[in-house]
Symmetry: C2
């Protein structure tokens, strides 16, 4: 009787394991994909926030400003800025040590992050007091938060400006 | 006169290029880091949404439900579920072909994603009509959206349930 029970159990176990444990890792039909990175090429050595809320949380808790980069994967202007920013030793070091970083390919619902419209590439700074630094701008009056590769020095200066934190009114 | 101007320009160019073009890629003081992935280990072959808003956008435009995974990197229960989910061929295939996926280590501001509290691991499904499927639950009455590794079959069944889309009331 016990033997019979045991063999039923064994059969059950075999059926269960064969239907649950499939061998092999899943590979998509189109072939193996490279894992997506949070940096999206803007600096693989930096620690990127995934969401804006997360960036704000880190900003407040570490008392560091946020640099928010809006870009698009298939935009040549974004790609050109990305290359310049990711290759620039000083900017990467500054971002790593003194900033919370986030790059977004989708707009957020926060209107403060598009003071003069939604375009890419667009770079905004946010103070740990959660104030968007609309005063820190690039050189184009029609797209105030746009930067081109030749503006890398201005971007660096603006990062230094963002590092000088606003006084909290609390 | 022209010669003198030219040499001034050359000196200027040399000064500019030496101050801008620093050699070498930035490496943090603590040593080189592995680039962060959007999958965070829940399936490197899947295409992950970065933000919940992005996931909802994809969900509507592709008419696929969203599977939202809340987890924490240093939570052993999350880690155990992650291993089971990422190793399961059928679940990965189903997620890749029929779902929009997002995994979050920070809570969103959307209260609908925490019907019975904020805990991890927690898995919720969202219909393309943007309705959180609070009816699709695990087996724990005090943490209705929690799953353990032994619940993998139930998770699979719940995914099939989520695939049966709600009718839009529009």
């Amino acid at each position: 009787m016990i033997k019979a029970l045991l063999s039923v159990l064994l059969v059950l176990a075999a059926v269960t394991s064969s239907s649950v444990g499939k061998p092999g890792k899943y590979i998509p039909k189109g072939g193996k994909r490279l894992p997506q990175t949070l940096s999206r090429g803007w600096g693989d050595q930096l620690i990127w926030a995934q969401t804006y809320e997360e960036a704000l949380y880190w900003s407040r808790s570490r008392n560091k400003p946020v640099m928010v980069i809006f870009h698009l994967e298939d935009c040549p202007h974004s790609a050109a800025m990305k290359k310049i920013v990711s290759d620039d030793f000083d900017i990467q070091k500054l971002l790593d040590e003194d900033f919370i970083v986030i790059n977004l390919v989708y707009e957020t619902t926060d209107k403060h992050l598009s003071p003069d419209g939604q375009y890419v590439p667009r770079i905004l700074f946010v103070d740990p007091t959660m104030t968007v630094r609309a005063d820190i701008t690039g050189r184009y009056s029609n797209r105030m938060y746009a930067y081109e590769p030749s503006d890398i020095k201005l971007l660096h200066d603006n990062m230094e400006k963002a590092k000088k934190l606003l006084k909290s009114e609390l």
